[in-house]
Assembly symmetry: C2
Homo-oligomer: 278 residues x 2
Amino acid sequence: MDEVEFVSGETRIYAIVGHPIEQVRSPEMVTAELVKRGHNAILIPIDVLPVDFERTVGGLTRVQNLDGLIFTIPFKQRACALADELGRQARTVGAINAMGRDRNGKWFGDIFDGIGCLEAFRNHNLQFKNQRVMLIGAGGAGRAIGVAVAYEGPVAITIYDIDERRAAQLAETVATIDPKIRLSVRTPVVENIDILLNASPVGMLSDPRAPIDPPQIPSDVVVFDAIVKPEITKLLAIAQQSGCRTIFGREMMRGQIAKIVDYFEAPQAGARRSTDAH
Amino acid sequence: MDEVEFVSGETRIYAIVGHPIEQVRSPEMVTAELVKRGHNAILIPIDVLPVDFERTVGGLTRVQNLDGLIFTIPFKQRACALADELGRQARTVGAINAMGRDRNGKWFGDIFDGIGCLEAFRNHNLQFKNQRVMLIGAGGAGRAIGVAVAYEGPVAITIYDIDERRAAQLAETVATIDPKIRLSVRTPVVENIDILLNASPVGMLSDPRAPIDPPQIPSDVVVFDAIVKPEITKLLAIAQQSGCRTIFGREMMRGQIAKIVDYFEAPQAGARRSTDAH
């Protein structure tokens, strides 16, 4: 009898919840990581209309063989209410993108966008401690990255967002995390910084622009772009031509997936490890 | 980057809902049938506590990329209430084991245990029309098989169940389907019948017994056993030694899977095709 080998009655289920859902990459990538670690597990896409979110996902949290959830647009904020306990970064950001259940059935939620960015830097043996950071974009990803970076002890963070109110809000949040950080909200600069982070959507897909367009970036600046597609954005191309070290959106994604699967394996320990211990 | 190929954001989801769930075979087998037919689809196991059933499965029916559900023990009766429309056999049996959603979001429910049995006979070019049938077992599977057979125009059905009330209830139901069928409720016989059906659990797994234990079965009787494991039950072994034609539980399972996937592909047409058109 014909049978597939990648799913059985014993398979543990994980899901990514969003609307729309067709474009997400977590099913292929998180499933690969789970399988690589020896789990009989799969991460499936779940497309939920906003009007059905609480009811449907509340029901999913009661499924006995479902051990973890990832949240994407537009549910990262609303998902907070489904967790029994939130990690420190999730509380600060006001959003989660992953929830894991411990053996007692308790659901832990946390946000890994920023943690994925830190992880990408760590894999290059780079850190944010004592660095001067320019962050472009204070939306969902920018806010998560800004908060994660703030916990790392940088000396300065400059924030730019096309929506000035959003940039100011993130600056306020960062100030509550670590009052020693020198903060400014202004148009992007490439001088007198150590790290340039793009978390804005400018440069995504067929957008040929860079979020900042200097002829040259000082070659000692590390340049990161959260955008996954294309791999080499206009900003990263400028950085490469300037001789800068570059870090790609895919590295953040890979770092985030590893950290989320750690979290799924041990949500309580994972929450402490990823957000409280520095 | 490591990625698996069997699931993506575009994968359509199906699920089997039961408690417990580890032992079910639908994930491997239905997924194989879906993939064989060219669908980017997967059937996953969903373990739901009875107390959570309506809430959780009600939520699942609102998932936009979930197109079908299979129900197993102990939910086949309660699942009826989740369907917007029930097929004829489901209404008669009072249970469903599959639900499919049409393009307008309407959920159709029907029961395929009996239809799977008919399909197994059809694949042997055998029919129930004008046949004398002995049915052992009037529980969940027996009731579904008895109802499906009754719609096929047999001349006689004899029903045995260790619980006499249950046998009598099924006889009553069969009488409402086709008053021309000669009915009796009594201990099993192998004489003066054309088809012997076992839908009782006697003979399952390590149970060495047969539900009826004659030294010999007349060789012109067709013998079917709904049990899947072992493949050759004690009853089928006796039948083979007697020179009878035999039909296996796996053939019913295969028939049922094909019919359920037909139904998932076109629930409204499927409901008509499988239960109303004879």
